[in-house]
Amino acid sequence: MASESGPAINPIEQFSIHPVVPISIAGHDFSLTNSGLYMLLAVAVSCLIAAIGARGGSGVPGRLQSLAEMGYEFIAGMVRSAAGEHGMRFFPLVFSIFFFILICNVVGLVPYTFTVTSQIVITAALALLVFFTVVIIGIAEHGMGFFKLFVPSGVPIYILPLVVAIEIISFLSRPLSHSVRLFANMLAGHITLNVFGGFVVMLLGAGAATGVLAILPFAMTIGLYALELLVAFLQAYVFAMLTCMYLNDALHPGGH
């Protein structure tokens, strides 16, 4: 490594996938990768918190108990307000999605860990899960009435074709925006953190005079880290909230 360029920093490297337990089924690679491992970790953490909440214990809740109950009431309130009492049967789905994303995001902020939600394939899988749930439940509940979703009431007949076309395109692009929003937020945040962290390392490595300057990107990294913690929660919230709103469409297609 040449001294003038400093240590090479590759902010993309943190997203690379490598197998932990190689598994091959029918010639396809289904290895347990670091991504899969962190998914299992997030699930384990979520289940642990939920299990502690489910245990109940004494009347006065402890910290983890409160966390589980706060999550429960938070998501229950969100589902109820966005999709109505009828939507409460999707509560476990929204709760699982929220906690899966939240724990993945937060775990990913620990240095040297892997961020599952920075993989477009995972966010796309979540978004498509929601999308197909909406379509299947919508058609199962309302049959052809589900397609009223694309025909807003009170629109003059001469612009109706245009409106319907726009509605259909916006409906079909939902999984795209739904998944890319989370993916891009996590990706950009981690790249930025990595770049500013890399500046600190570079300035410290370049000598005592520039080493003093390292305090600037270091402060920036701390600020960004706090912001990323907010984003980690916010993106989980946004994803869950949009899920509720899409599910509301499946339950009440004519309702907007």
Partner: protein, 179 residues
């Protein structure tokens, strides 16, 4: 493993299947999707069948318990209020009784004093009347004595001036006319 990664990256530069940018490396998609289905499937099963109903029950139980405790507290508060009211009532009654008793005692004492004063007044009046009667009698007697003295004096005067004893009946009549 590092070797494998390196190989992947190099291949990615040439082939279309792999990418330099790991999130777009489609060769990792099947395994990621498989493990996502396993992980998320388990999470959903655990949450919907195990954890969430339990947590809901815990929250409901606590809410019910708090509501029950609050109801109990309200009932006890009402009981305490009732007891306080009863106590207050008893106190008021006792106070009224005491006042009535005091009033009665006062009335009784006043009546007794009045009666005593009345009898005393009557006695005094009787005594006064008696004394006045006595005074009257005494005065009458004194007045009769005065008439006798006047008659005597008039007789004597008449005797000295006239030189002969005066007629007592005439003197008496004259004195009585003057008196």
């Amino acid at each position: 493993m590092a070797q494998l990664e390196k190989t992947n990256t190099e291949v990615g530069k040439e082939g279309g299947n792999h990418s330099n940018f790991p999130p777009f490396d489609t060769s990792t998609f099947p395994s990621q999707i498989l493990w996502f289905i396993i992980a998320f499937g388990f999470l959903y099963w655990f949450m919907s069948k195990r954890a969430l109903p339990q947590i809901g029950k815990v929250i409901e139980d606590r809410k019910a318990r708090i509501a029950r405790d609050l109801d109990d507290a309200t009932a006890m508060q009402q009981k305490a209020d009732a007891a306080a009211a009863a106590h207050e009532k008893t106190l008021a009654e006792a106070r009224a009784n005491a006042q009535a008793l005091a009033q009665a005692a006062r009335d009784h004492a006043t009546a007794e004093t009045d009666a005593r004063r009345k009898t005393a007044d009557a006695e005094i009046a009787a005594k006064i009347a008696e004394a006045e009667k006595q005074i009257g009698a005494t005065r009458k007697q004194a007045m009769s004595n005065v008439a006798d003295i006047a008659r005597d004096a008039a007789g004597a005067i008449v005797e000295r001036l006239g030189g002969r004893p005066a007629d007592p009946a005439a003197v008496k009549a004259a004195v009585d006319r003057v008196a």
